[in-house]
């Protein structure tokens, strides 16, 4: 009796879930980076950055 199908299914599901998790984190990373870039090009500054700008 062979159990290869169960072993392959376990590794297959694990790879699929982990790829989805990594993919989701990478997509989120891209979304946030683009949003920050867009705000910075519009000239929006965070309060802490604005304070440093005024001080200098």
């Amino acid at each position: 009796m062979t159990h290869t199908a169960f072993v392959l299914a376990s590794y297959g599901v694990s790879i699929a879930v982990l790829v989805a998790l990594v993919g989701w984190i990478l997509i989120d990373q891209r979304t946030q980076r683009l949003a920050l870039q867009e705000l910075e090009t519009r000239g929006v500054r965070r309060r802490s950055e604005a304070r440093t700008d005024n001080a200098s």
Partner: protein, 254 residues
């Protein structure tokens, strides 16, 4: 003494979100590389390992199932430590850490349940039994889902952080229950065979691949956690900057 103070100072520096982002930028490329190397070595060792005399080839499922199960508990422990950070020091980075870890922990717990089920069918003759170990891990999975829902239920992160921290700490009671469930109750799930008094009961030919895979997946957890934390810090910055932009647009309108 001075060294201890400066060391503590360095950790506090890291808890500054901007410093954390710089730290993540430096550490992540190395961490990704080491994780991939260790996981590749672990996979190679797993496929080279002999079949178990009782489990046959299904022992290969153990090389991923056991690390997933360990990590499901370690991730919750990380979240509980973060919850203490939120409640005691009210540090925003602690809440960022807890929120970022929850989906990763949920994924590892789901994988522990799925791979366990796929091992149970050929070895036990059943996909699932409601024994103490399986049920307590299923409860852990539900707790992760509850925490994920709570962290994303409110627009303002500061409002949900305290409630999430309390829920996380209350749920921590489940971790020792999971660990000792196999000793306290008569379970179909086997008792501990690696982390136990008197040393592991597994033959080195199967123990080494398991340990290397466990190290690899632990590194993967920390890599993903740091990445998700950085994303969360950026997300909060975007929200804060959009508010500033909206306010200044409003002022200009007046």
């Amino acid at each position: 003494m001075t060294e201890a103070v400066s060391k503590a100072g360095r950790w506090i520096d890291l808890a500054n979100p901007t410093r954390f982002i710089n730290f993540a930028g430096i550490v992540l490329p190395w961490l990704v590389g080491i994780t991939l190397l260790v996981l590749a070595a672990g996979l190679w060792m797993s496929f080279q390992a002999p079949d178990d005399y009782q489990q046959g080839s299904t022992v290969k499922i153990m090389f991923i199932h056991v690390p997933f199960a360990w990590l499901s508990m370690m991730c919750y422990t990380v979240m509980s430590i973060s919850a203490i950070g939120t409640l005691v020091w009210r540090h925003p980075l602690a809440d960022v850490s807890a929120k970022a870890a929850a989906p990763i922990g949920a994924a590892f717990t789901a994988l522990a349940l799925i791979t366990g089920s796929l091992w149970g069918k050929p070895m036990w003759g059943t996909w699932w039994v409601w024994d103490a170990r399986l049920t307590s891990v299923f409860v852990l999975f539900l707790m992760y889902l509850g925490i994920i829902a709570l962290t994303r239920a409110m627009d303002d992160a500061a409002k949900s952080s305290k409630a999430t921290a309390i829920l996380t700490l209350v749920g921590f009671i489940n971790i020792p229950i999971i660990k000792f469930s196999v000793d306290w109750w008569n379970t179909l799930h086997q008792p501990a065979s690696v982390i136990r008094m008197g040393g592991p009961t597994i033959h080195p030919s199967l123990l080494w691949p398991l340990l290397v895979m466990a190290v690899g997946f632990t590194l993967l957890f920390f890599t993903l956690h740091i990445m998700a934390m950085r994303n969360e810090i950026w997300r909060r910055r975007v929200v804060a900057m959009r508010r500033i932009a909206a306010r200044s647009a409003e002022r200009r309108g007046v």
